[in-house]
């Protein structure tokens, strides 16, 4: 087991290198020169520009620049944000907890919806419940998050006036009011993301349970007199969850995509909305750093999923 975990972590290193190389290539191929302004400015003599370029190592071979860039990225030296007037790493650390809390809660909600519905659907395939659930899952899956978000705002904020549609980082209250304020404004972003994830997951769970429920060992469990509940929960769902974990891992990049959009709609001050704001403000260091952080998060989560997979399924051996 521990051997597997170590191996899996070691495998993640070349993946990270590969992705960083991809990011760097995009950056290096991009047109535009940070010194464009200096070059066109008649007051700056060309020698000064050349010296500056040399000092910053802009004319070094590509490989040297890549290694230096990667080192800086890994050490957390992400530069200075011109738009926010602070170091990029501090800026991102400030925003990251909000993103992780909304994403985590949404994912939890998705699983909470998908597990029972998917399982019940698979227990009675083609029943009315199954057909309604499958249709709803299909609809939920086809509703893009940006549209669901607007619909939620239209219904719950504008028509019913139940929930605020602008997320505030600091809420002017103390005690339970503070918690309530935070929860209330997070309901819609979490629901939008969570229901979208839930719709996708329901389909996975349903087909995974369907695959398992007809196997002989399930009949054996029933035949030896186990109650339906124990058969389903202990024997069917447990085994059906194994492939679902992999599918959840494959969904992770999509979750981050959804997070960027939801944060933008509800103005959640996370790194997704920061990414959009930085792009609009031409704040390159921040854009670069966020892309790097999101990529790293995707890698870490898929690593975690693989490890959970190994814990769930003792048959998995790595070779």
């Amino acid at each position: 087991m521990s051997k597997y975990v170590i191996r899996r972590v070691v495998i993640a290193v070349p993946a990270l290198l590969g992705i960083s190389l991809a990011l760097f290539t995009v950056l290096a191929l991009a047109p535009g020169d940070p010194f464009e302004e200096l070059v066109t400015n008649p007051n700056v003599p060309p020698e000064v520009t050349a010296r500056l370029r040399e000092q910053l190592g802009l004319d070094d071979p590509v490989l040297v620049r890549y290694v230096r860039w990667l080192g800086a990225m890994l050490r957390g030296e992400w530069g200075f944000s011109f738009a926010s007037r602070m170091d990029v790493d501090r800026l991102i650390l400030q925003r990251l907890p909000t993103t992780l809390w909304v994403l985590g809660a949404a994912q939890f909600l998705g699983i909470l919806v998908a597990l029972p519905i998917g399982t019940l659907s698979a227990m009675r395939p083609y029943s009315v419940f199954d057909q309604v659930a499958t249709t709803l899952a299909f609809i939920g899956f086809s509703l893009p998050t940006f549209f669901t978000g607007l619909l939620f705002i239209l219904v719950f904020s504008i028509s019913l006036d139940w929930l605020p549609f602008i997320y505030q980082a600091d809420i002017d209250a103390t005690g339970w009011r503070w918690y309530w304020g935070h929860l209330r404004q997070a309901i819609m972003p979490i629901a939008v993301l969570g229901l979208f994830q839930g719709a996708a997951l329901t389909r996975f769970v349903r087909s995974a349970v369907l695959d398992v429920i007809r196997l002989d060992y399930v009949n054996t469990a029933r035949a030896k007199g186990l109650s339906e509940q124990i058969t389903i929960v202990k024997h069917v769902v447990r085994n059906a969850l194994i492939p679902v974990v992999t599918l959840v891992a494959l969904q992770i990049p999509a979750i981050f995509t959804g997070a960027v959009i939801t944060e933008q709609i509800f103005r959640v001050p996370g790194i997704g909305s920061l990414l959009i704001a930085s792009i609009l403000a031409n704040d390159t260091p921040v854009v670069m750093a966020i892309t790097f952080v999101l990529t790293a998060l995707v890698l870490i989560s898929s690593l975690a999923a693989d490890i959970v997979y190994a814990v769930l399924d003792p048959r998995i051996s790595y070779n």
Binding site: A15, G18, I19, A22, L23, V26, L27, A30, P31, G32, F138, I139, F141, S142, L143, P144, F146, F147, L150, L151, I153, L154, I158, L250, P253, A254, F256, T257, V260, I261, Q264, I265, L275, I276, I279, L280, V287, M288, I290, T291, L294, T295, L297, V298, L299, S302
Partner: protein, 309 residues
């Protein structure tokens, strides 16, 4: 054996033969897929033919009639500049669907090429290509899409003009980030098909590698690829809408459905119709395509074809 011969015959000779007819019959039996096909067909006809019939300009500004609800003069209402939403929707539908189809074609071409090379050659090439595929799978799609748009937009605009430049960039990037599933599917199909007797027979009859791949393996590997292609169109439409919705896709004078939604989102209180119409259009298109994909999956599943006879 007879079925293998059948399918070979159907794929190499006459256009209308029992295998495709059987698939078509199977597809028509999937009720929701048929509904999806009808809805999608209607939308395509509307956006292709619509602008010739409904000749209201998309950019006629009229502040006197801004933010109006749907009425006889403006069936889908107007936006904050008094522009006719129906005209913009019809025009935008062309853009959205064109982006969907073009990105799908790019994704499928790259995917089939890489999958075929990996599956046919095997060995080191296969290993390297599959590592690259895994790498692309773990890239976060939208953030990377945004980064590339951010870095390359201005140059391409200068090179190809604002309209074509943005279109090319969006299509290339969406397609370039979505080929991985197809590559894996095609590779898996190649690995199993190249060991089949009919391929071996072709080989022993002297078929060159290119002919073996093109005439014998590829046609038989197309089923899952067609399904993936269908889903890719929907995914590309969503990707383009997301980009435009974030204000980083098409400019306002090219009103793709996502762009209309982006412009409408700040007027939700005063003109909900303006956001509901493009949102519903995207949703219906994606839902129809998903159901069509579902129907195609059932129709093209070779196990069902063999078992159903």
């Amino acid at each position: 054996m007879a079925t293998v011969a059948d399918s070979l015959g159907s794929l190499t000779s006459a256009p209308r033969t029992s295998l495709w007819q059987e698939s078509f019959r199977r597809f028509t039996k999937h009720r929701l897929a048929m509904v999806g096909a009808v809805v999608l067909f209607t939308m395509v006809v509307a956006v292709v033919a619509g602008p010739f019939i409904y000749r209201v300009p998309i950019d006629e500004i009229d502040f006197k009639s801004k933010l109006q609800s749907p009425s006889w003069t403006h069936p889908f209402g107007t936006d904050d500049l008094g522009q006719d939403v129906l005209a913009r929707m019809l025009y935008g539908g062309r853009i959205s669907l064109a982006v969907g189809i073009a990105s799908m074609l790019i994704a499928i071409s790259i995917g089939v090429l890489i999958g075929a090379i990996a599956g046919h050659l095997g060995g080191v090439v296969d290993n390297v290509l599959m590592r690259i595929t895994d790498l692309f799978i773990s890239l976060p799609g939208l953030p990377l899409l945004l980064l590339i748009m951010y870095l390359f937009r201005d140059t391409l605009k200068k090179l190809f003009g604002p309209e074509a430049g943005v279109f090319l960039l969006i299509v290339a990037v969406i397609g370039g980030l979505r080929w991985m599933v197809v590559a894996r599917l095609v590779r898996a199909q190649f690995l199993s098909l190249r060991e089949k007797e009919f391929v071996e027979a072709a080989r022993s009859l002297g078929a060159r590698p290119l002919r073996e791949v093109w005439r014998h393996i590829l046609p038989n590997a197309m089923g899952p690829v067609i399904v993936a292609a269908t889903i890719d169109v929907a995914a590309a439409i969503i990707a383009e809408s997301s980009l435009s919705f974030l204000g980083l896709g098409f400019p306002p004078d090219i009103p793709s459905w996502g762009r209309i939604l982006y412009d409408a989102k700040d007027n939700l209180e005063f003109a909900p119709h303006w956001a509901l119409i493009p949102g519903t259009a995207i949703f219906l298109t994606v839902l129809s395509i998903s159901y069509i994909g579902d129907g195609l999956r059932d129709a093209l599943d070779p196990r069902k074809v063999l078992g159903g006879k």
